[in-house]
Structure formats: C-alpha cells, structure tokens
C-alpha cells in the first residue's frame, strides 16, 4: 500500500526533489557543486577503478517505511570529508572509519532533507543509523535510480525503495 504522503518515486517531481536534496546538502555543508547527469555521462564519470562506498539509511515517515541508498567512489568520499571538516591536505589521511562515518552522515542528511521537502511538513520522520560498506562493485545503473549526479565532477547515485509498494516507473 502506497503512503498517502510520500509520492511515486518515479515522477519527475520526485526525482527533482532528490536532486534538490543532494544539491542543498552538498552546497551548504560540503561546498560542492552538484549537476544532474544522464546515464551515459554517469558511466563516463564512474569508469575509474576506485572502490565504491554505499550507505543505506532506513527511514519511517508516517505509515511509510523505506530505505535510501547513496553510492559514491571513495575518492569523492575523501574529498567531501576534507571539505566538511576543513581538513588541510597536508594533514595525515583520515582513517577508513572516518570516511565511513562521513558517508553515513552525508546519506543521513540527504535522506532527511528529501523527507523534509517531499513529505507533509506536519509529519515528523525517523531515520535509523546508516549502514556503510564497501560495495562489491560500482552501482548497477540498469536499475533506475532516484538520482544520478556529478558532485564536483565525480559520480554519486541515490536510490530509494519504499517498502510494500509496487511502483511502475513513468513511461513503462
């Protein structure tokens, strides 16, 4: 049963809201530029050999529950960490745990910002602690994501799944 508050995720409005949430978080807390990109451009950006990190954030908003996933290459994660903390590049490299933590916090903020803008403003929501892991491989772009963007010319992908909802992407 679809939530009466959260929208069909495959509408252009919902997709724009996800991109908007990523852009707001990236600009305000990470001073990073976000540009939406198509599948081809995303594939070009993602063609490197760097490891990918994926964070999953379970959420509940009213009757609706779901999971937001955020995937990005490790080099982008490290650059965002530097921007967020103001780290001087001459300082020792942060630990892997710090990078994981940063990716979790980034995903947490994207999810929260998206829920705040898309859901009814009267309704509060709950986010569970993000789980971050190294992805076995780069994200499968055959599955239509909520948003594909370039963050300072590096790829970042967000997917959102609502529980117990059967959705058909627009145009299928």
């Amino acid at each position: 049963m679809c939530s009466t508050k959260l929208p069909n995720l495959f509408t252009s409005e919902a997709a724009a809201a996800v991109v908007g949430a990523i852009a707001l978080v990236a600009e305000r807390s990470f001073f990073a530029d976000v540009q939406p990109c198509d599948e081809r451009h995303f594939d070009e950006l993602a063609s490197g050999n760097t490891a990918w990190l994926v964070a999953t954030v379970p959420f509940r908003e009213g009757d609706a529950t779901g999971v937001l996933s955020c995937s990005l290459p490790e080099d982008l994660a490290r650059k965002l960490l530097d921007a967020f903390t103001g780290r001087d590049p001459r300082e020792p490299q942060p630990s892997g745990d710090a990078v994981f933590d940063l990716v979790g916090e980034l995903s947490n903020m994207i999810c929260g910002t998206w829920l705040t803008t898309m859901a009814t403003r009267d309704q509060s929501f709950t986010l569970s602690r993000p789980a971050v892991e190294i992805a076995a491989r780069r994200p499968d772009t055959n599955v239509r994501p909520a948003a594909r963007v370039a963050v300072n010319d590096l790829p970042l992908l967000v997917s959102i799944a609502l529980d117990d909802v059967v959705l058909a992407p627009a145009g299928h």
């Binding site: 978080v25 807390s29 916090e105 929260g112 829920l115 009267d122 509060s124 569970s128 602690r129």
Partner: protein
C-alpha cells in the same frame, strides 16, 4: 563554559568542535557523547552549561535524552540545542515543549552553526 556534543557521527562532532574552537567562545571545554545514554552519564558527573544534541541516535535518541533531562529536573540552567535533519513542524513543536533554546536544521554552514552557538552561549549563566 562546558559544552556537551551528543551525536553518533564522529564527523559531525569534529565539525562542531572546530567551529567552537574558531568562535569567540574562549575558555570553552568540549565534551562528547555518541548517544543519549552516554550524555546522561556525563551530565550526572560533570557540570555542563550547553548541550547540543542530534535527534536520531542509537540506544537513546536526542528527544528521549531531553525528556529524561526534563524528568530528572536536575539541570534547570542547562541550555539545550537540537541539531536535526527533520525540519517538520511537529518535530519543532516537540522541541519547543522540551525547553530547547535553538533548533538547528541540517544541513547547515559553519557560519550558521557559529551563530547558533553564540546565541545559545548568551543564555548560559556560568
């Protein structure tokens, strides 16, 4: 002045610490906790003037922490600030009922955090 930062993200705690260090809040000691339960243990043993807490945390959330602080009624002068991604009206109303001085919505810039810290610090009676 002693500030307690409660957030399960070490990166967020690091950001807040840096802003505190760079602001005009000279002579400030900063304590950290990764959830509400840890925060309560610190409050029981040390005098804290300003509390900044996230909302969604494991073991004990920020709202549960603030409710417990209110229930115990042992820290009437503690200035409370919520930091949250949830900008909903209901969450803000809930915060107001918990005697929260400032509600800081994520994402925020360092300048906004500094402003909130300075504003909250003015309410502190050391």
């Amino acid at each position: 002045m002693r500030i307690l930062i409660v957030d399960d993200s070490s990166m967020m705690r690091a950001l807040i610490k840096r802003v505190i260090k760079l602001t005009e809040l000279t002579g400030t000691e900063v304590l950290e906790a990764s959830n509400g339960a840890e925060a309560l243990q610190i409050l029981e043993t040390q005098e804290v003037n300003l509390l900044l807490t996230d909302v969604n945390m494991p073991e004990m959330s920020g709202v549960e922490l603030l409710r417990e602080i209110t229930r115990r009624d042992r820290w009437p002068k503690l200035v409370r600030v919520i930091i949250s991604t949830d900008g909903s009206v209901s969450r803000r109303e809930e915060a107001a009922d918990l005697d929260v001085r400032c509600y800081l919505e994520k994402p925020f810039s360092p300048e906004v955090l500094r402003h909130v810290l300075n504003e909250a610090a003015e309410s502190v009676h050391v």
